[in-house]
Symmetry: C2
Subunit: 434 residues, 2 copies
């Protein structure tokens, strides 16, 4: 476990490891057990991480993940941006995303806004990986994170692929994790054992994405492995649902990346098959859901100076309105600075919601919005009500703060996890020049 | 002129006053002449500003503006929020907005999120103003700015109305300005002389709204007076068009206020009538446009630590897409921190535009977006191109920085003025508790 600090407190590589499931917003299912981080990948997977020279710092910057099963099943999700990076375009257009055998991921260069040459460069590294592993290039996904507008250094990467190939091992997930990180203050990684009615399977994941997006750097990655056997449709369905409930619900600064990539790979090596619509599928889905939600919350909690993170829950109204209101609160610099300092300034929440919903059908002014902070009801039907100010001030000192907002009309419910806005965010993104 | 600092440099009350028109983005029409700030209001207007005790600081907090013409013409625009403050609701619902005789404005309390009691309190102060001036309450608009969720202190305000009434004078605009300010670092006020084919008229304005919205404080106000005679339809049309091109195009932090109010009042005392669709109307409109645009830019430039402001111009695509892209750039904390430090990090612009337009019809990935910073073309059809990096770094040290973005397809063009994101913003909004 790498040394680092997150919103929950200091973490030292010398001290006892913190549990992976550490947020009150992620109840751990009874059939999921956390394994030690040196347990290695599920059967059928090997990984490696090396330094190939992309990062001037000399830190690890190239990762390789391989599934040794002959017919593995996979599923993938990518950023919804209109300006996707070359590796995203290549992986989406030229890969069998339901039958991936390997992932090549680099940090230190996003290969974004690089046009035709960027695509060609990405294809060269994909081809080199396939050649080294003896695979069809269409079974090798590529993922990059780092500086936007920089070209990929292809030659060092090809040499790095050969080095990584030699180092592939079951316990290579820690090295992979290090090689995909950019500004992450701590690692986001888990090894889980999942008891299913049909037997025991394993789930592991390596994730990157800091509490802030640093100068010219972008992106979140999440690579997930299991030794369970899934149908391609099941893998796609479960990954899709769980990504929607995790990474899609997290916002650090409202800035959608050019490179976001999440890939689930299933080796089937456990011999446990997950039949669609079975109890196994339900239980496996619960485990994947908890895993991805905790990782998404860890991403929000990362970043220098993050003092607090929050969950905003919006109920009522139609789904579009509720979603827009939740995003407006999560991305409001006024709400985020108040969160940072533990300031019970709920007027900013009303302002953010009202500003977003103004002019939207079904939300006529004056908006009868209710606001509850950490269980304390402060605003009813759009108007201030009496509450215990001392109790509220104390409650807002928590590391995880919850805002509940109720809109007129019923039906919708949504949530967004978000981080605060701190001096360190500005320092990180303004003071250090590219 | 109050002491203070803006993005253009130090301003001292001892030194020579800076010209009002100081942005390169506001060409001053040849028929508009800037008058000294102590020239007083146009004929037919009187104003006052007093301390009535709303602000704990003892600073002026109550302003009164009166038009002495018997049948003045006016027009008004208000915030589009779904959660408007009580004074906005009252003014919109119970005032003859095309025939206003007076405005009562206070700072130190926004009377927002105050429900039925807030409306009653606002009505009491409206009634007291009408009684003091011998007017119909429906001709008195009210405007408040300050803490959201606080109730209006009605008794001190009613006493203040009587005090302000005694102090009404042509030269009262400086006092009015002081009494409407909250966190503004400098005043935003102008007295203009406008040569029209039919004669000379005057335009004055007092505006508030800081480069940041401070803890629990919200709002921009702009009060404009002229001695020209306008038809109600003309006043409404011109104010509407000019507000769309000025305050609607300014963003400090993307946060729409609960209290925004802009009111144009026309006394007609000059004897010059502005006939619809005449050359007079065109020229008067140009003057009002320049006035409001400069005020909007001054609002963006206000605020502690604002080092730079920017204009983003988006051309191409449909208007909705262009508008969304411009707002996405203007409100991106990554773009804003790069602007603050003069960092030529245009990848963040591509990221912001791509993130916003992802999934929108007509903007398929990969987006062929062009980016030009201060006239230097850095990105063509979505891909990096070679440019003079030193020249760009130098150009971005300017106080006013211009970004031009071209989207695929033609048709739309829009612009947004915005400020940077600085440590001082965080300090102002996080460190000082309410």
């Amino acid at each position: 476990m790498s040394a680092g600090k997150d919103v929950y407190g200091d973490r030292s590589s010398d001290g006892p490891p913190q549990p992976f499931f550490r947020s009150r917003w992620v109840p751990v299912p009874g059939h999921v057990r956390e394994l030690a981080l040196d347990s290695g990948l599920p059967a059928g997977f090997r990984a490696a991480g090396v330094t190939c020279g992309i990062k001037p710092s000399g830190n690890p910057d190239l990762a390789l993940l391989v599934c040794d099963a002959e017919n593995p099943v996979s599923a993938a999700r990518f950023t919804a941006t209109a300006a996707p990076a070359a590796p995203v375009l290549l992986s989406k257009e030229r890969c069998k995303l339901d039958a991936l055998r390997a992932i090549l991921a680099n940090s230190g260069c996003a290969n974004a806004a690089t046009g035709k040459r960027g695509l060609e460069d990405a294809a060269k590294t994909q081809g080199a990986t396939a050649a080294a592993l003896g695979l069809d290039p269409s079974t090798v996904a590529v993922a990059s994170t780092g500086g936007i507008s920089d070209y990929l250094p292809v030659e060092p990467i090809i040499k790095g692929i050969l080095a990584a190939h030699k180092q592939l091992r079951r316990e290579g997930d820690a090295d992979l994790q290090k090689a995909i990180q950019t500004t992450d203050a701590f690692e986001k990684r888990a090894c889980l054992e999942v008891e299913l009615p049909s037997g025991t399977v394993h789930l592991s994941a390596q994730c990157k994405g800091a509490g802030m997006i640093s100068p010219r750097f972008a992106t979140m990655f999440c690579f997930v492995q299991t030794d369970a056997a899934l149908e391609p449709e099941t893998a796609d369905l479960l990954l899709g649902v769980c990504v929607k409930r995790s990474f899609d619900r997290a916002s650090v600064d409202g800035q959608l990346s050019t490179n976001d990539t999440a890939i689930l790979m299933c080796s089937g090596a456990s011999g446990v098959s997950i039949v669609p619509e079975s109890e196994d599928e339900l239980r496996f889905g619960e485990a994947l859901d908890a895993l991805l939600r905790q990782l998404a919350i860890m991403m929000v909690a990362d970043g220098e100076g993050a003092a607090r993170i929050a969950r905003v829950i919006v109920r009522g109204g139609d789904l579009d309105g509720a979603e827009a209101a939740a995003r407006a609160v999560a991305n409001s610099p006024l709400v985020k600075t108040a969160l940072h300092s533990g300031d019970p300034n709920w007027g900013r929440i009303v302002q953010a919601v009202g500003g977003e919903l103004g002019g939207r059908p079904g939300f006529d002014a004056p908006l009868a919005v209710d606001v509850t902070l950490e269980g304390i009801h402060v605003c009813s039907a759009g108007a201030a009500i009496a509450y215990d100010e001392d109790a509220l001030a104390r409650a807002l000192q928590a590391k995880e703060v919850e805002y509940e907002i109720t809109l007129p009309g019923d039906g919708a419910e949504t949530e967004v996890f978000f981080s605060d806005l701190s001096h360190e965010y500005v320092t990180f993104n303004a003071d250090y020049h590219t």
